[in-house]
C-alpha cells in the first residue's frame, strides 16, 4: 500500500473496539495477526519479537509477544492492564482496547468496553462456549457495545470443520438472544495461520461471510448514542474571550445528537429555555455541529450557565433528580461502604454522593442475582445513589454519555466504581 493511497481514500473515521479473552484462547495472537497483516508492525519491533520468540519458545514467530507491555507482565506471562493498540487501513483508523480476561480483571474489561463501538469475544473452537465467553459477552452488553463479534478461533485445530463452527454458533445464539446487541456476527478463523482475519485463506470455502477486517472496516460507529443533544459545559468564555462581542461562550463537546444555529435548547438542571445564537470553532463561525465535535456555543439569552451544566435538545426527556438507581461495577480494592463520602462525576459535573446497600449482585458466570450487603473489587450490582445536587440524566440504555458516571472516593481520590443509570 502506498502512502498516497492511504491518504486519498475516503476516511471512515475511527472505530474503537475491544478484545477480551483468557490466557490461552489466542487473543494476543489475533491482535498480533491484525497488526502484522495490516503491516502495522515495524522492523525493529519485528526483530525484538524474533529475539523474544527464540528466547521464550525456541523457534517460530510468536505474535502474542507483541502485546506484552509491562515488566511484571513479561515476568508472569500474563496481561495485567488494558493496553491500547493502533492500526489503520486505507478506510479507517482503529483503536484496540486489549483487555485481559481473567475473572479478577472484570474491571479491565469494563474499562475497555466503556468506549468501544464493537466487541470481539474469542472462543476456542475445541472448547466451545466457556463461562468466560459468556461473561465477556455479558459485560459487552452491559456497557451497551452495539456490535458483538464472536470469533471462533483455532479452527486449524478442528480441521477447519464447518460442523464445529456451527455447533458453537447455535449454542451462543441462544445465550445472545437474552443480551441486547444491535448486531451479532459469528466468524470462524485461525489467528495463528491468518485464515479469515485479514486474508480469507482457502481452507474454509464453506464460509461466505466477511473476514474479520472487512467486518471492522464496515461496522457502524457512534455506539448507541443517537437521539437528542447532550452538551455538558466544560468552560465558560467571558464575552471578550468568546469570539462574539458582548456574549459569553460555552465550550464543550457535542456528546450526542446535533445542533444548529436557531435551535431551541434548555439549560439543565435549572431548566431555562433559550435558542442557539451562534456556534464557533477556532476557524470561525459554523452553522451546525454534531457528535463528537468540540465547539463553543453562544446562546440568545444571558442566562447563568457554568461548568457542569448541560445544554440539552428538546427531543429527549431528561430526568432532573438528586438520585437514581444504577448498576455499579466496583473497581477498587476497598469495598463499597455505606455512609462513606463519595463523589459522582456525570458529564462535566462532580457532586457529593452516598451509596445505599446494594439490592443485589450479579454472578457474572451464571448471570444470577445474589443477595449482598456490599460490592467488592470486580463485583457488579444494583445500587441506589443519592447526590448532593440535582443531575440531568437519561437511562444508560438510551445514552452512554448522559447515562454514565464514575464514583470517586473523596478521601483517597481514587476512581472506585463505574455506574450506569437504570
Amino acid at each position: 500500500m502506498s502512502a498516497i493511497e492511504k491518504i486519498d481514500l475516503a476516511d471512515a473515521g475511527v472505530l474503537r473496539f475491544t478484545t477480551a479473552g483468557s490466557v490461552d484462547d489466542g487473543k494476543s495472537t489475533l491482535i498480533g495477526r491484525l497488526l502484522y497483516d495490516t503491516r502495522s508492525i515495524f522492523e525493529d519491533q519485528l526483530s525484538a519479537l524474533e529475539r523474544a520468540s527464540r528466547h521464550r519458545n525456541g523457534s517460530g514467530l510468536d505474535l502474542s509477544l507483541l502485546t506484552d507491555g509491562l515488566i511484571a507482565e513479561r515476568e508472569q506471562g500474563i496481561t495485567i492492564d488494558v493496553a491500547y493498540r493502533y492500526f489503520a487501513t486505507p478506510r479507517r483508523k482503529f483503536i484496540v482496547a486489549d483487555t485481559p480476561g481473567h475473572e479478577q480483571y472484570t474491571r479491565n474489561m469494563v474499562t475497555g468496553a466503556s468506549t468501544a463501538d464493537l466487541a470481539i469475544v474469542l472462543v476456542d473452537a475445541r472448547k466451545g462456549i466457556a463461562s468466560q465467553s459468556r461473561r465477556h459477552a455479558y459485560i459487552a452488553g452491559l456497557l451497551r457495545i452495539p456490535h458483538l463479534v464472536i470469533a471462533v478461533n483455532k479452527m486449524d485445530l478442528v480441521g477447519y470443520s464447518r460442523q464445529a463452527f456451527e455447533r458453537i454458533r447455535g449454542a451462543f445464539r441462544e445465550f445472545a438472544a437474552g443480551l441486547d446487541f444491535r448486531r451479532v456476527d459469528y466468524l470462524p478463523l485461525s489467528a495463528l495461520h491468518g485464515d479469515m482475519v485479514v486474508e480469507r485463506g482457502n481452507r474454509m470455502p464453506w464460509y461466505h461471510g466477511e473476514t474479520l477486517l472487512e467486518t471492522l472496516e464496515t461496522a457502524q460507529t457512534a455506539g448507541s448514542d443517537v437521539g437528542g443533544l447532550f452538551f455538558p459545559v466544560q468552560l465558560v468564555a467571558r464575552p471578550e474571550e468568546s469570539g462574539y462581542a458582548g456574549r459569553r461562550g460555552y465550550r464543550g463537546r457535542v456528546e450526542s445528537g446535533a445542533i444548529r444555529v436557531g435551535d431551541a435548547v434548555t439549560v439543565l438542571p435549572a431548566g431555562r429555555a433559550t435558542r442557539v445564537h451562534g456556534i464557533r470553532v477556532f476557524e470561525g463561525a459554523i452553522e451546525a455541529a454534531h457528535a463528537p465535535q468540540s465547539v463553543t456555543l453562544i446562546l440568545e439569552d444571558p442566562l447563568d450557565v457554568s461548568r457542569g451544566d448541560v445544554i440539552a435538545g428538546p427531543d429527549r426527556q431528561y430526568q432532573v433528580t438528586r438520585g437514581f438507581d444504577a448498576t455499579l461495577c466496583w473497581l477498587a480494592q476497598e469495598p463499597l461502604a455505606r455512609g462513606r463520602r463519595y463523589l459522582v462525576r456525570h458529564g462535566t459535573r462532580t457532586v457529593k454522593a452516598l451509596l445505599a446497600e446494594p439490592a443485589y449482585r450479579v454472578n457474572v458466570n451464571t448471570l444470577d442475582r445474589e443477595p449482598t450487603d456490599t460490592l467488592a473489587l470486580n463485583d457488579i450490582g444494583r445500587v441506589t445513589v443519592r447526590t448532593g445536587e440535582p443531575l440531568a440524566w437519561v437511562p444508560y440504555r438510551e445514552s452512554r454519555a448522559a447515562g454514565s458516571f464514575i464514583v470517586m472516593d473523596e478521601s483517597s481520590n481514587n476512581t472506585v466504581a463505574a455506574g450506569m443509570i437504570e
Binding site: 500500500m1 502506498s2 502512502a3 498516497i4 491518504i7 476516511d11 473515521g13 475511527v14 515495524f42 522492523e43 525493529d44 519491533q45 525484538a48 523474544a52 506484552d68 507491555g69 509491562l70 515488566i71 511484571a72 492492564d81 493496553a83 491500547y84 493502533y86 489503520a88 483508523k93 483503536i95 479491565n108 469494563v110 474499562t111 466503556s114 468506549t115 444491535r182 460507529t221 457512534a222 443517537v226 437521539g227 466544560q234 467571558r238 474571550e241 468568546s242 469570539g243 465550550r251 464543550g252 463537546r253 470553532v281 477556532f282 454534531h290 463528537p292 465535535q293 468540540s294 473497581l331 462525576r345 456525570h346 462535566t348 464514575i406 470517586m408 481520590n413 481514587n414 476512581t415 463505574a418
Partner: protein
C-alpha cells in the same frame, strides 16, 4: 427508540474523519485540564508533538489566552534550531514560557553526572520534579503517545503521579468513558496526554493539514554522521566520532528531537511534510527504534524511567 429507527438514525449520522475525531478528543481533554486543575502547565520542547499540542490549545481556547504557562526542561544538550523554534513559537503566541535547566540542577548538586558527556535525558526527571514543586503544578500536559513504546500503551490520558512523581503502572486509576479523574492531594500531580490516541502518521498528517511550522532539523539536510550499532549518530562537539569510526556526510532528518547525545537521525531525502508523510506511511522502523539510543538499552528502559517521574 426501537432498533430499526435507531439503525436508520445511525446511518444518517455523519462520521468525523479521523483527524477531526482525534482533534476533537484532544480539545476536550485540554478543556478538562482548564476546568478541573488549579495550576496546570503544558510541556513544550519545540518538538513536533508539542508543536501539535500548541495548535490544539489554540483550538481549545482562542481567542482567550492559554489557561497555563508553557514549560520546557532544557538539558543544555538541545539542538540550537529547536531552542530557536521554541522561543519563536512562544513569542508568536504571546504565551508565558518557563525554562528550567538540567545544567542548573547539576550546578546545585541536584543532579550528579557519572561522566561529563553522558546523556542528560534521564536527569530531566529531577529538574522536572523540582519545577513541579517550585510552581506547585497539579497537572502537566505532555505530547506522549501510546504508540511510541510498549509501556506507554498502558498509560492513562489522565495519569496520576504521587508525591515523588512516581508512576505506578500496576495501580493506575481506571479510566472509563470520557469521565476523567484529575483529583490530587497537595504535592501530587497528574500527567495529561491529549494526543494519546495519535500515531506518528496522524501527527504528520495533522502538521500537513494545519500547515504547522517545525524546527528545520525535521526535514532532510546534510550532516556529518557516523554509524554505530545500526544507528546514525550525528557528529557534534558533544558527540565526536570514536576511534575507528568513519565520518560520512549524509542527507538525514530527525524523527524525534531530544538530547543531542541520544537522538539519531534517519537517512532521508524528504524535504517537505508531504514527503515525510509518504516516508512515514511506508516506514518499517518505529520512531523510537530508529532514533533513540536510550530506549535500546533494555526492553523496559522507558518503563523504568517513567516510574521515576520521566515524561
Amino acid at each position: 427508540m426501537n432498533l430499526a429507527a435507531e439503525a436508520r438514525e445511525l446511518a444518517r449520522a455523519p462520521a468525523l474523519a479521523h483527524l477531526d475525531w482525534l482533534e476533537s478528543e484532544a480539545v476536550y481533554v485540554l478543556r478538562e485540564v482548564a476546568g478541573e486543575c488549579a495550576t496546570p502547565a503544558l510541556l513544550f520542547s519545540g518538538g513536533k508533538d508539542s508543536a501539535v499540542l500548541l495548535r490544539l490549545a489554540e483550538k481549545a481556547f482562542r481567542p482567550a489566552r492559554f489557561p497555563f504557562p508553557l514549560l520546557h526542561i532544557d538539558t543544555g544538550h538541545n539542538f540550537p534550531e529547536v531552542i530557536a523554534f521554541r522561543d519563536r513559537r512562544a513569542a508568536e503566541l504571546s504565551e508565558r514560557l518557563i525554562v528550567r535547566s538540567v545544567e542548573d540542577s547539576i550546578r546545585t548538586g541536584r543532579v550528579r553526572l557519572a561522566r561529563p558527556d553522558e546523556s542528560r535525558n534521564p536527569h530531566q526527571s529531577v529538574t522536572l520534579l523540582d519545577a513541579v514543586a517550585e510552581f506547585a503544578f497539579d497537572a502537566l500536559v505532555g505530547g506522549a503517545r501510546r504508540d511510541e513504546e510498549k509501556s506507554r500503551a498502558k498509560e492513562r490520558i489522565f495519569s496520576f503521579r504521587d508525591r515523588f512523581g512516581q508512576w505506578a503502572p500496576r495501580n493506575q486509576r481506571p479510566e472509563l468513558w470520557d469521565l476523567y479523574n484529575p483529583r490530587v492531594h497537595r504535592g501530587e500531580h497528574v500527567r495529561v496526554f491529549p494526543i494519546s490516541n495519535w500515531t506518528e502518521l496522524d501527527v504528520w498528517q495533522y502538521i500537513a493539514r494545519e500547515r504547522l511550522s517545525l524546527p528545520s532539523i525535521y526535514f532532510a539536510h546534510r550532516r556529518p554522521v557516523v554509524r554505530r550499532r545500526g544507528l546514525l549518530v550525528p557528529v557534534t562537539p558533544l558527540t565526536p566520532p570514536r576511534a575507528g569510526e568513519a565520518v560520512e556526510d549524509l542527507s538525514v532528518r530527525f524523527r524525534t528531537v531530544g538530547d543531542i547525545t541520544c537522538t539519531c537521525p534517519v537517512e532521508s531525502a524528504a524535504a517537505t511534510v508531504e514527503e515525510i508523510i509518504a516516508e512515514t506511511a511506508a516506514a518499517r522502523v518505529t520512531e523510537r527504534g530508529a532514533t533513540r539510543m536510550d530506549d535500546q538499552t533494555s526492553e523496559a528502559s522507558m518503563e523504568l524511567r517513567k516510574r521515576e517521574g520521566y515524561f
